[in-house]
Symmetry: C2
Subunit: 351 residues, 2 copies
Amino acid sequence: MPKATPVHRQITLADIASGCGVSRATVSLVLRGSPLVNKNTRARVEAELKRQGYVYNRAAANLRRRTSSSIALVINELGNPYFAEFAAGVDEALGKAGFVTLLGSTGESAVREQAVLGSLMEHGPGGIILSPAEGSDARQVLTTVGPHVPLLLFNRELDDEVTEINHWDVLALDNVHGARLATQHLIELGHRRIAFFGGHRDSSSCRQRREGYQQAMRDAGLPIEPRWLIESSPTRLEAARQAGALFAVDPAPTAAVCYNDAVALGLMLGLNQRGRHPGHDFAVTGFDDIAEAEVSVPPLTTLATKPRERGRQAAELIIQRLHHPNTKATRTIAPVQLVVRESSCPPIVTP
Amino acid sequence: MPKATPVHRQITLADIASGCGVSRATVSLVLRGSPLVNKNTRARVEAELKRQGYVYNRAAANLRRRTSSSIALVINELGNPYFAEFAAGVDEALGKAGFVTLLGSTGESAVREQAVLGSLMEHGPGGIILSPAEGSDARQVLTTVGPHVPLLLFNRELDDEVTEINHWDVLALDNVHGARLATQHLIELGHRRIAFFGGHRDSSSCRQRREGYQQAMRDAGLPIEPRWLIESSPTRLEAARQAGALFAVDPAPTAAVCYNDAVALGLMLGLNQRGRHPGHDFAVTGFDDIAEAEVSVPPLTTLATKPRERGRQAAELIIQRLHHPNTKATRTIAPVQLVVRESSCPPIVTP
DNA sequence: CTGAAAGCGCTTACAG
DNA sequence: CTGAAAGCGCTTACAG
């Protein structure tokens, strides 16, 4: 591993100490703001620190104190604006609390995730915020992060048993409620044949959103045709390709609750290619409220999940956990909010 | 600072050593893949490492060896998809090379930038990739990062003198050429009155893009009306507000080369609000090719800057620098590519 | 209020 | 091929 690189001669406590005729211990006390040290001594030391341009070596301090001042943030895909916003929120809140963010991106691969977690662990993070990659396995995660570092799961859940035993905290979106809101909204507009479009059945968030959709349909006494539950990778391209599946059943649905915004945007693209006009003769809803949702054509009705706020929240939760390692694990369900835009049109009345 | 948090009793080299009856030195040699150690000894040690679930403490190793295995990435605004993609590229390439990314987001504030750099420095990064915030000052940056840690400037340049003296590397986009391409393209479509819209004059990238625009106009023998050079914050909202400034001069321009995509999208919004139809009676170009550019209405003609590739490139450049600290500083100009879409319409012919 | 000493977990000459 | 010893830059009882 050629990952090491020699570093220039550093200015240390010893330099400062000899520079103003005190011991290293005294300088350390000044640095840590101890009230024990004499005012004049403190002033002299501080002047010397400034004069020599001293930079605190937090790694050394952490080693000695057996503490950590970093939190690892492991994310499916930073290029996804949803996770980028989340990361921005995490970093903002961690920075405010004096922690540094160790970043790791997994590209939605469980294998990469293992590698990234392993590498980050060697840097001794005080805690980990993990948005698991698809197919990520709780037991494997446990093997590489060990039972002692606090972990917060975001966005996707892992095996409940492992999560509970290890007191992993969970921050989840209110997926069931969100999908329910979207479905109810379409029903109120007059839609009767509503599909659920996109996502993989084995992802927890997809299952939860489907559940909300089904609840709303059942509550309204509407039938759910199994072929209206259409899977696709949660990407725009895949969704566009799958659009045709909506019309495999006759009569076809007049609306689709989509797994997320990427899928919804892709579906709208696919509909256009088939001569359908989302927002006119077909209604679509998304999930996430990414920036594009507002400016797409037509503007997308969706559920705002406020990823930046979620990021701040995640940071606060993990910091909480660091301060109280032995309290019960928490399961936080973040609210989501329906944002109505033009993509959710009323159905065409067919005679 | 309550940023420290006690960490659980760690498994150390000493545990492994006593666990299989060798010295710590031998275990260390095994870990570092030294050929000096006996095959059987190695096997025994490796088994013990696995058995005890040993996790390498890279911070301790770095302290002893006076090396670093991290690179700091300081970015204006992670929420901006352009920088998010850049960060994803950086993290990907750094991870491959065995480095961990220390993330810092400045929110486009020079004051925050100082704080973030200071905090990151305490974690001893081997190098820094910095995309300076607006108004960032080279001398201040120098004061807090010191003269010894390699720095790569991305996206925005700082005082040339300071940059040169400290051998800071620079990775810049070919802004002049890009803006020139966009302007020439509009000219070829028949536009004669072309504005340059958005950006702040005191940012280097804005100056360079204006320069490219002016070159193209001059080369085509077209006049540049000073009031066609319109400033705005590089955000969608500000740009939408400034749209009216285009029509302060009579005759008004029929096209605008925009500072970037965010500005271009905002301008299109502003034009729509004034009853103008970008892509029909007004042409617009952007810069960056963010994801929205492709799906906006009309789709935006712009310059692809491939931020993820740029991120990988930045990571490679800084790693180069770590390995060769004393070679001359580099100035890399990354190519940009014109992407033609419907927003760049021909002008309406007025009789 | 200040200093001498031990130790965090690792690495690296140096002996053997 | 393996081990004893010193040291990276810091902190923290413990004396004084």
